[in-house]
């Protein structure tokens, strides 16, 4: 399964938020989407899942235009985790994860054994089985994030789009979530993750796409993309960087000089 976005353009009041942007996500790939606030990362994900209209461009799955697929087919193929979701009502964790099986469920019938199994598997993957029957509102931020990730995994989609999955998590949970995504990619799932932590991105991602002003600024391995020059130009910061064998530790040290 391969997702391709070709020359996608999204406009908000005549401003091009995503401008002629192309990317692809294949089987087993772990791709990081990075860039400053307002670069168009979230808007791009929303366009891919069909929650945002785009004025120009084409989205295809294995060469088939996405709009030729039914909403249910699309839902089974692309799973989406938005950034810092607020969940209405005091739902139980397991019920929330079960919502991920919505594309597979028929109206007015209880969940099939397949769905129950997928939900249990998803809960086990994120190690959330112990609090599966607690209300989501009683969980800590980290536990809550894991349940929502399990909801995304329960879809069983071959491609997963996650928007800032580690933004509000402590250090342990950050690594935990990144490791779960990496394991999923090893199993053959294509993962596209919006990230702000560049060291995490460098450590876990196979490929990085750096976006600036709605267009791809640089793309390639973490080493190729996370250069001092790119960071200064796109993020307007001068980092302290320590290069390791395959990746690098990046610490945002100070604002970049204006003349850069």
């Amino acid at each position: 399964m391969k997702l391709e976005a070709l020359n996608i353009t999204v406009e908000f009041q005549n401003r091009k938020v995503v401008n002629d942007l192309s990317l692809s996500l294949g089987k087993g790939e772990l791709v990081g989407l990075i860039g400053p606030n307002g670069a168009g990362k979230t808007t791009l994900l929303k366009a891919i899942i069909g929650a945002q209209k785009y004025v120009h461009g084409e989205l295809t799955l294995d060469g088939i235009p996405l709009q030729d697929l039914s909403q249910v087919e699309r839902a089974k193929t692309l799973s989406y985790l938005p950034q810092s979701q607020s969940i209405e009502w005091q739902l139980q964790a397991r019920d929330v994860v079960m919502l991920g099986r919505f594309p597979y469920q028929r109206a007015f019938s209880p969940p099939s054994p397949n769905c129950e199994y997928a939900v249990d598997q998803a809960l086990a993957t994120v190690n959330a089985t112990t609090y599966a029957f607690r209300g989501l509102h009683t969980l800590s931020g980290g536990e809550r994030a894991l349940v929502l990730l399990a909801r995304t995994l329960a879809v069983g989609a071959p491609l997963i789009l996650v928007d800032e999955p580690i933004a509000e998590l402590d250090l342990y949970h950050q690594i935990n979530v990144m490791q779960i995504l990496k394991d999923k990619a090893t199993e053959g799932v294509g993962v596209l993750a919006v990230l702000h932590d560049l060291t995490m991105a460098a450590q876990f991602m196979d490929r990085l796409i750096l976006i600036n002003d709605g267009s791809v600024f640089a793309e390639g391995s973490p080493k190729e993309v996370l250069t001092k020059k790119n960071l200064e130009e796109v993020y307007k910061i001068s980092p302290r960087q320590k290069d390791l064998t395959n990746n690098s530790i990046i610490y945002p040290w100070q604002k970049a000089n204006k003349d850069v």
């Binding site: 069909g50 909403q71 989406y80 969940i87 019920d95 919505f102």
Partner: protein, 333 residues
């Protein structure tokens, strides 16, 4: 698993409660109350009149008590789920006020005197116009647009109702309008039941069809779309379903507030907070609550019979205040 068992137990208990209240409602009335009262009535009036009293006076009242209450509960639960707002109720999209306006026009023009069924028919017409208006104004917009459009329609219809009262030269018509607006299911006939039932049942079916999408909507609109929910289809289901059943109920019973607000809140913790499970429970509980209130109206005697809408508002008002206090507390912590 245990969850689902508890849920079916709850639904069975609520169904049983509704059946018992329905029977109780049949056994209460001015002609004779309770087993002994009905026995006396049977002996006094003979089998033919007894059967007329039961079939033409008490049966429609009991049926409408349940269907109106169930519609209010169901529509309230659906709208709270759809708008993701615990303070939503059927009136919020302006259907009840529009239906009331239709009825008021029928009374004001004297049409209801010439043809009694003109009143419910015009009320249903009012609610159908609301579906059209909401789809045109808020069809492509978001939830906030829908609420705002509902408030606008509500205030406009309220103003036109006041205008009718203001201009009415006939004090009897004014009194009739005011009394009708208070809400009641006294002295309704089987023709009211036949007229309202098709609209109510279609409304119920439309609302029920939206139920599982409401669960997914609690994750937010974008996640719902990513899971295959068609937002415009859900909007049409919710608006049309509410307008049809609430319009028909208002047409028959006048404006009955607070049932649609309270019932979902009472049921929500019992069904594990899932909107789809809340719908059947709220329908059954709403029916039971209104049957119960209608029984109270007949048992409590202040000389004049209390209006059903007055009783529900008297129960609902304080409940609403407690609800706001509790919301305030939970926001603080």
């Amino acid at each position: 698993m245990n969850n689902i068992k508890n849920y079916f137990f709850l639904l069975s208990a609520l169904s049983l409660l509704a059946v018992l209240l329905f029977i109780a409602s049949l056994m209460i009335g001015s002609a004779g109350t309770g087993f002994s009262g009905m026995r006396v009535m049977f002996d006094q009036v003979g089998p033919e009149i007894f059967s007329v009293i039961m079939k033409e006076i008490r049966l429609p009242r009991a049926i409408l008590g349940f269907t109106v209450g169930a519609s209010l509960g169901l529509a309230g639960a659906t709208l709270q789920g759809y708008l993701r707002n615990p303070l939503a109720e059927p009136g919020v999209i302006g259907v009840s006020t529009a239906a009331a306006l239709g009825a008021v026009i029928a009374i004001y023009t004297g049409l209801s005197v010439v043809m009694p069924l003109a009143l419910p028919l015009m009320a249903i017409g009012g609610s159908l116009i609301v579906i059209f208006l909401l789809q045109t104004i808020a069809g492509a917009g978001n939830v906030a647009t829908l609420i705002l459009a509902g408030v606008a329609i509500s205030s406009l219809c309220g103003a036109l109702t006041s205008l009718a009262l203001n201009l009415s030269e006939n004090p009897f018509a004014s009194l009739e309008i005011v009394f009708w607006l208070l809400g009641s299911i006294t002295d309704r006939s089987m023709s009211h039941v036949w007229l309202s039932t098709p609209f109510i049942v279609i409304g119920w079916l439309l609302l029920a069809a939206s139920s599982r999408s409401l669960d997914v909507l609690s994750l937010g609109e974008e996640t719902a779309v990513s899971l295959g929910v068609n937002l415009s289809r859900i909007r049409i289901l919710v608006i049309s379903g509410t307008a049809l059943c609430i319009g028909a109920c208002t047409a028959i019973a006048g404006v009955i507030g607070f049932v649609g607000l309270i019932v979902p809140h009472l049921m929500r913790p019992l069904v594990g907070h899932l909107p789809s499970r809340l719908l059947p429970a709220s329908a059954l509980a709403g029916g039971s609550l209104l049957l119960c209130a209608d029984i109270m109206v007949r048992l409590i005697n202040f000389g004049t019979e209390l209006k059903l809408g007055v009783v529900t508002a008297l129960i609902g008002g304080p409940f609403f205040l407690i609800l706001i206090l509790r919301l305030r507390v939970s926001h603080k912590t």
